[in-house]
Symmetry: C2
């Protein structure tokens, strides 16, 4: 799935799961073991939820020996944390549509896509973060990384004169995305049409040049 | 705790738990039973989390007979759903500070207070909503009620000429609150100073009269 740019590329772990036979895989045996294990974690999470992600189940599904899974990942929290770390390591570049509103809307479309899938692995990981402190820490790191990378869309808008710098860039990106997470991940509502756009529009309007409510 | 106005008044269930001896309690025996049961649910949630909220544990802690708890609430999901329904029934009036920014900031302070408590019952209920479909439905109803009631702060601002009606009132309130939920409930971060204000400011600025980024 090279070239596909997702806010949360966790799905790509799975999409790489079935290499063409004979294809060289980068990273050697340890990397291949990790990929098999994380592919199994993603599949189990998606199909059966957090409670089903056990060392035994992951060993069986991945074909990796139980003692290897145990030694390297220890427990469900370790498995979930590494799933998120793998997602964070995926290349992700924020969009560059030419306008702040366009960029924030595109990021939000990616967030909607990641959350609205009925078998969303992102939703499963969010749910897991309420059970596993290790998964919660990994999810925080994942989002911290994405928001740090996304800040450039605000910085570019400021450079274009399209936005003032009166609000911190990360705050603007979080403001754009947070309503989507609130509606889809916390309220578990449907993805209503226009949600990505309306949330992006509010954040973009708040930093548009001109008088704000109060500086 | 009469007169205290909280976004999430779930804590009030507990604060009413120990009536002054001889005080008349409204609602009769059924209401008293419900209060004892929900007080026990809140205490167990806060102290031990979702997994500890069982019919047996609630019966023991509340002193209400197990068969009564089972007949009326059925399972942990039913107990959590009724806890949220009780919170929704609490009187809550949105603030009326005279400015949209003031009102949204005050709502956000209430949300921060509900989430930042180390033994936050709100956080415990959010976590529970990922385990129990009944709790998830009840949490959605609770938030739907709060956002519907809070919409008046935007309507008043429009009437004062302080805001334009170009964005739906509920969308504005969700935009103000969502970053607080994102940082404290999803990212499980600390309540950084200024979070309530900065999120309120972005939402208020987005509906301030004047040119928006794009209408």
């Amino acid at each position: 799935m090279i070239g596909k740019c997702n806010w949360c590329s966790i799905n790509d772990v799975e999409s790489d799961a079935q290499p063409v036979p004979g294809t060289a895989r980068p990273g050697g045996r340890t990397a291949r073991t990790r990929e098999r294990v994380l592919t199994a974690v993603a599949a189990i999470l998606r199909e059966h939820g957090y409670d089903a992600v056990t060392v035994d189940a992951v060993a069986e599904r991945s074909g990796v020996h139980r003692t290897t899974v145990y030694r390297r990942w220890r427990d469900p929290g370790g498995l979930l944390a590494d799933t998120l770390d793998a997602a964070r390591e995926q290349p992700w570049e924020p969009p560059d549509t030419g306008t702040l509103l366009g960029d924030l809307t595109e990021i939000n479309h990616q967030v909607v896509a990641a959350l609205a899938d009925p078998a969303s692995i992102t939703q499963a990981l969010i749910a897991a973060s309420f059970r596993s402190p290790a998964a919660a820490r990994a999810l925080r790191s994942f989002w911290a990384d994405r928001y740090a990378r996304a800040a450039v869309v605000v910085e570019r808008a400021v450079a274009r004169g399209e936005a003032t710098a009166r609000v911190d860039a990360r705050t603007v990106v979080v403001a754009a995305c947070a309503p989507v997470f609130h509606e889809l991940a916390l309220m578990r509502g449907p993805a209503v049409p226009g949600l990505a756009e309306s949330s992006a529009r509010i954040a973009a309007a708040a930093v548009a040049p001109g008088p704000s409510v109060e500086d």
